[in-house]
């Protein structure tokens, strides 16, 4: 059996190798370089100096980094809840109504490039000539509301994707379960709570894990709109990393920020495997 498996592996290798090599070059080597760079002090050119964990000590004693981590956590909490609720709601409604003609409408913002969405919401939020003028608030200009304003714009362009993913998962649920539940007198909410949710749990858990990973990588939404302002209220780890690398010439510290972002990703992946081992089918 083992010999047969080895033979099969050798047969499949030519098909796997190109992608594997590409992955090594584009993913693994830069990742290892980043980890190594985080142990050095370097401006990007010229002398490079080994400093050990100094960069990590630096970033953890930097209030800006602590503040950015907090912003990333807030962002994650928002995206673990609101768009998921919206996505589940629309998936359940589509299951019941079969109004699939609505799908292109809620999915349309998903296919728009981030630059376009930022431009649209930049106009909406503009306090001089945008809709915000009539609301009397400058959402992106106020440190208390800027992060939430950005998250709202991102949710607008994101929840449709979750809706499509959840609806796809819902379609694989046997209709007989709902028929039986209906015959037993289960309400709509009870059907959702006791049939839909458990049946799509693997998809739901997977998307939540991915949301955590993606939330710590957010960069474009902030960079295209507020660049971390006003007064650092939308600064995230990725924008700090970018500023350190390209404005401050602190490549080592930027690499340390990158390692920190990756750690949150690893924690999520760890959670994923933990849940798998616990028997939660993900």
């Amino acid at each position: 059996m083992k010999t047969r498996n080895n033979k099969e592996l050798i047969q499949y290798m030519p098909f796997l190798l190109p992608t594997l090599i590409l992955n090594l070059l584009i993913v693994l080597f830069p990742s290892i370089s980043t980890i190594l760079l985080s142990l050095f002090e370097w401006s990007g050119f010229g002398k490079i100096k080994f400093v050990g964990i100094k960069n990590f000590i630096s970033i953890f004693s930097d209030n800006l980094v602590i503040s950015a981590i907090l912003h990333n956590i807030i962002w994650t909490i928002i995206f673990l809840t609101i768009p998921v609720i919206l996505g589940l709601t629309v998936a359940e409604l589509l299951r019941r109504t079969k109004w699939e003609f609505l799908q292109p409408f809620y999915f349309f913002p998903v296919i728009l490039p981030t630059v376009v969405v930022c431009f649209i919401w930049g106009f909406i939020y503009n306090p001089v000539y945008g809709l915000a003028k009539y609301l009397g608030i400058a959402i992106l200009g106020n440190p208390s509301t800027a992060l939430y304003g950005l998250a709202f714009a991102n949710i607008w362009a994101w929840w449709g994707f979750l809706g499509a993913v959840f609806y796809s998962a819902v379609q694989s649920i046997s209709k007989e379960l709902y028929e039986s539940a209906s015959l037993d007198g289960a309400s709509g909410w009870q059907q959702f709570r006791y049939i839909t949710l458990p049946q799509i749990a693997p998809t739901l858990v997977f998307m939540e894990i991915m949301t955590i990973i993606w939330s710590f990588q957010v960069f474009d939404w902030v960079w295209l709109t507020t660049q971390g302002g006003p007064a650092g209220s939308t600064e995230l780890l990725a924008t700090l990393l970018y500023k350190k690398a390209f404005s401050l010439y602190k490549v080592g510290e930027a690499a340390a920020d990158g390692v920190l972002i990756s750690m949150f990703g690893f924690l999520s992946v760890g959670l994923y495997f933990y849940l798998s081992k616990r028997g939660i089918e993900v």
Binding site: S43, G44, P127, L140, G141, P230, A231, L248
Partner: protein
């Protein structure tokens, strides 16, 4: 009748001849990466700068490419040992970094041979020196001032202020009319904050004090700097837009506000002239005026020009044709006619550090703009200049300058705390050689 052997030999010889001719005619390509520019701007530079050079050097091709995030793209390319032949940076702090890493060609010989050392003020060349050699030439000289709605001022008999008393009196009079005194915003470019820090530091503390602090001869925590920031905070809260509005608007909005009389003035650099002639920004028929920013404390001279170097040009040491690249670079500054035409075709952007005779200036050039740049050049020559933060600070001090001031506006830190942190970061960068060389003040 040729035998096959002789026929093949003839063909081979012909091919070799053709190849030799084509190699001989092969043009020398010089690449130049430029920061964000519209197609019209690129066309202007092609017409006014590049075509005259190519006409005189038909074997040279100049390829001008716009790179939207020039700073980041350039850093990556230069760090990899690549990059364009003509290196354009955002100022001496950046250019000097490349020079210190051995990535740029020293330009002293070329500058001296072309006599540019006598044309370009020494301050501007000295700031681009690393270990005594010049590696960059400033392409855009800018200074801060007040751009105001002249029609509005004339109708209300408002005068341009020359001191702090007149400044506050003017702003209060404008406010009484229900008009915002100063329109401004940092949406899209957060470092806008430093423009105002620059004028308050120089025009309150005085250029001599700023000079001493930049050379490490005094501390940035001296009362005169702290008071400058306190004065700025007071003025910002009273005369600038509310903070949340300020953080949400950019040039499209604040230039519009001045032209449509919702606001009276901009405290801005000479780059603003690229907006005044553009009807998408200056939307009314009102006239505009320019004046140096007032002196903010008795004893501080008026007028002064707070000089900034917006961009510099250098030659990549890895260029295949360094002499040709340097020759083209020098020719840009010798081409006074081309530079004069760019005052019309690309206003506010190409303010080269050379004296442009008035007879070369096209009649379509905004006279207010021309007067502003002549004034800044004259003040520089006379030694009546201050120091802009984006030209004369190291990168980390620069970042604190524009990020930290928001904490002061919001009352999160005091002016003293702001200057204390400024001083700490500056001292560290001065020690590490990250502060551009500050030439002796003459």
């Amino acid at each position: 009748m040729l035998s096959t052997k002789n026929f093949l030999l003839l063909i081979t010889i012909l091919l070799i001849c053709l190849l030799t001719v084509s190699i001989g005619q092969q043009k020398i390509k010089i690449t130049w990466w430029y920061e964000s520019a519209t197609p019209e701007d690129v066309e202007a530079m092609q017409k006014d700068l590049i075509e005259p050079y190519i006409k005189a050097h038909p074997n040279v091709e100049i390829e001008l490419t716009v790179k939207e995030n020039l700073q980041e793209v350039l850093r990556t390319a230069m760090g990899a040992g690549e990059g364009p032949d003509i290196v354009m940076t955002m100022g001496p702090a950046e250019a000097n970094r490349y020079a210190a890493a051995g990535l740029l060609l020293p330009l002293d010989e070329y500058i001296k041979k072309a006599g540019l050392d006598k044309e370009i003020p020494s301050l501007l060349l000295d700031v681009g020196k690393v270990k005594g050699k010049i590696y960059s030439i400033p392409k855009t000289i800018e200074s801060m001032g007040i751009l105001y709605n002249k029609s509005l001022f004339d109708e209300n008999n408002w005068k341009v202020p020359t001191n702090y008393k007149e400044w506050t009196a003017l702003c209060d009079a404008i406010k009484k009319k229900g008009i915002l005194p100063v329109a401004a915003g940092n949406s899209g470019w957060r470092p806008t904050n430093e423009h105002f820090v620059t004028v308050y530091l120089n025009n309150y503390a005085g250029p001599e004090n700023v000079y001493r602090a930049l050379r490490g001869l005094s501390s940035w925590t001296e009362p005169v700097f702290v008071k400058a920031i306190e004065t700025f905070k007071n003025d910002f809260l009273n005369y600038w837009p509310k903070y949340d509005i300020y953080s949400s608007i950019g040039p499209n909005e604040f230039v519009n506000m001045v032209s449509s009389r919702k606001a009276a003035m901009l405290v801005v650099g000479t780059w603003a002239f690229q907006w005044t002639g553009n009807p998408d920004y200056w939307v009314s028929k009102d006239k505009w005026g320019w004046a140096p920013f007032p002196s903010l404390r008795e004893g501080v001279e008026y007028p002064i020009a707070n000089i900034g170097i917006g961009t510099t040009l250098s030659v990549n040491k890895k260029s295949k044709y360094p002499d040709v690249a340097a020759d083209f670079l020098i020719s840009i500054f010798k081409n006074k006619e081309g530079i004069a035409k760019l005052l019309r075709d690309y206003p506010g952007e190409w303010v080269a550090p050379i004296d442009i005779p008035s007879n070369l200036v096209p009649p379509e050039v905004d006279p207010v703009f021309y007067s502003a740049i002549k004034t800044q050049y004259d003040l520089l020559r006379k030694g009546k200049y201050g120091y802009t933060t984006w030209t004369f600070l190291g990168p980390e001090t620069w970042q604190w300058c524009y990020e930290g001031i928001e904490q002061v506006w919001l009352g999160k830190i005091s002016a003293l705390d702001y200057m204390k942190k400024w001083n700490d970061i500056f001292k560290k960068e001065l020690k590490e050689g990250l502060v551009p060389p500050i030439p002796i003040r003459r």
